[in-house]
């Protein structure tokens, strides 16, 4: 084997794969083709455009910097790849008071607005793609209060105290002397007399981001590849 043949062989074998699984998909996924709702099939009309509110960019940065993705994923996989659609709250709500069953698999639009889709490495903790939706359903307007306490020390929540191994993020909070009235956002946690624990800017961004994770909105039926079949769910 001459060096020339070797170099050609190596360039072709690597270059072909590199072009077709790395370069091309990367740029293809960069401009997503808008998908339209179909009249008569879907309840909505126009172009599907997911709305996200919250400090997504800042919060996603805090999420990334503290390595949340080591233990939490953000994807509801189709049924061929796992039971995410059936696990309570992962893919949406089974019985949303207004919309009924909102569960659906993730789609490419769910990640728009961030630089890196935090798919995650393991599920040592639960999936978070619909965390905001779950918490809104269980805690309503107090969802952020609950989440602050949970981030401050996950084991303060009696529901998970016995088994959660989530790290506490106390460093995202500030201990401040109470001057005048206690802050509205002050956490209901043990602290020495005259002081209060309030969420810092990073904690506020992170909570805002986590509550924005509500990716169970209605999608055009052309995109809903594996709708949950009524009666067949868990």
């Amino acid at each position: 084997m001459s060096f020339r043949n070797f170099a050609i062989g190596l360039t072709v074998s690597f270059g072909l794969a590199w072009f077709s699984v790395v370069l091309l998909p990367f740029f293809k996924l960069r401009d997503l083709t808008p998908v339209a709702f179909e009249e008569g099939v879907d309840t909505k009309t126009g172009i599907y455009f997911p709305k996200t509110t919250g400090r997504v960019v800042d919060g996603a940065r805090i999420y990334a910097e503290n390595g949340c993705y080591q233990c939490h994923t953000q994807v509801a996989r189709p049924t061929y790849a796992g039971n995410d659609l059936k696990r309570d709250g992962f893919a949406g709500l089974k019985g949303d008071p207004d919309r009924g069953d909102t569960r659906r698999e993730s789609n490419p639009f769910d990640y728009v607005g961030t630089d890196f889709a935090q798919i995650g490495l393991t599920r040592n903790g639960p999936d978070l793609i619909n965390l905001g939706r779950r918490l809104n359903a269980s805690h309503g307007p107090d969802a952020d209060e609950y989440l602050y306490r949970r981030l401050y020390d996950p084991r303060l929540d009696p529901a998970v105290a016995s088994w959660s191994n989530c790290p506490s993020m106390k460093f995202l909070f500030e201990k401040k002397e109470i001057q005048g009235q206690r802050s509205e956002k002050a956490l209901d946690v043990e602290v020495e007399e005259g002081f209060q624990i309030v969420p810092g800017p990073a904690a506020r961004a992170l909570v805002s981001y986590l509550l924005s994770l509500q990716h169970d909105d209605e999608v055009p039926s052309s995109m809903n590849y594996a709708p949950v079949i009524p009666g067949n769910e868990g």
């Binding site: 190596l10 039971n83 789609n107 490495l121 393991t122 191994n165």
Partner: protein, 492 residues
Amino acid sequence: MATLENDQDTILRASIDRSLRHPVMFFFTSGAAWLAVAILLGIISSAKVHSPGFLDSCPWMTYGRVSAAHQTALIYGWGCQAAFGMAIWLMARLSRQTCRNPGTILTAGHVWNFALSLGVIAILAGGGTGMPWMEMPSFAWMPMLLAYVAIVIGSMVQFKVRPEGHTYISQWYLMAALIWFPWFFGSAHLLVHGFSGSPLGAAGVNAWFRSAMLLMLFAPVGIAMAYYLVPKVLGRPVYNYSLSLIGFWSLAIIAPWAGMQKLTGVPIPNFLPYLGAFAAILFAVPAAMAGINLLKTAVTDLEKVNESPTLRFTVWGLIFLLIFGLASVLLNLPSVTRITQFTISGYGYDVLGIYGFFSFIAFGAIYFIVPRITRREWLSRRLIKSHFFLSLYAVFGIALVAIFGGLMQGVGQETFTSAWEDAADRVVPYAVMTTTCWCFLLVSNFFFFAHLTLMWLRLGRRSSHPTLLVEPHHHDPHGPEGDIDNAGPAVH
């Protein structure tokens, strides 16, 4: 006449070794130091999985950051530097060229270490990028890439100007790794840092990059080294030469397609995960070809394998390579992926590849190369034996426990009728076991690092008898002493 040629040959080898002494020793000792850092961070991060309260008042020690820093130190601190040391030494030896730019390589090695140190500190300080194995902030990758080019450019030139004649299979593997690494490392970092607006595309590039590090840097360098060490120490030809060539080309054709199977079920074009899984499963073919070919060579003289530190480590590295190939098949079957995709199995698989297969061959190489470049023999067979047995059991432990534990964890996750608590509880015993194994590895690496440092300080035995792992026939625990000055023809 034959003696004269033999002498000239010996002198050439000795001068090649001398020319590379400082850069190669730098990469090995610095790599071993980073390995110690990686192990310490590994113990901390693993302990946090079962005892979340451990060190939890310190933001730098948050699980997510420590875990990322642990993997970064292991991959870029130990893995890459061990690979550089092996690659530049082996390419010089096989191309029969002395190193002409040791100063450049040494400087580049320091740049690599400096960028890496800043990167790891930044991760711990909370400046990580959030992309697995690419967590170092964006300032780090460009200096590292340039340092890499400065380190290996000499090796490429050596290959180009090598004397006419036979090209060894190890050289093909090395050349491939030297060309692949900057290509995938540079393009992956450029895509994710230089082009925003493709979150899923970036996640895909990242998944592919992680696979490429294992299959297109560590695998070819490890296999190249093993193809040199086993026949060399045994003094026997490789069992089947054409098999080794087929093995090389199958790796070149298969490995670049693997990686995206990590994103099964993620909304990216469907063919990507399937293609990735297919390639990852097929990786077993080049792994088995290299592994079986070399083990077939090794079994011809098991006594020698047992007494040579180099061969003990290398042969176990090859056994790990076979297990690694088998794990690639099992973990990437679609029916298994749906259970293990988001579990600790992935970590077990990575440890098996980096610390089982690659590092064992790297240890074998270090036990072979260091006496030649320092012209001193290893001091103590007990230190080598302790290093060997502790590493062997601990790495086996982590890999098996994490892969099997991940399977159990996945079953818990998939059983959607029971609470999430069930899946979380299933991890705990395996995490305890993993922490224990990392502690054993810390002890093991202490022996290795201390021994290597003594060699680096040139405090090794002045002897022409290599340190072998056989029972001595007399009372000296360090084996028979040989000639005090080993500058003569006895240089290996």
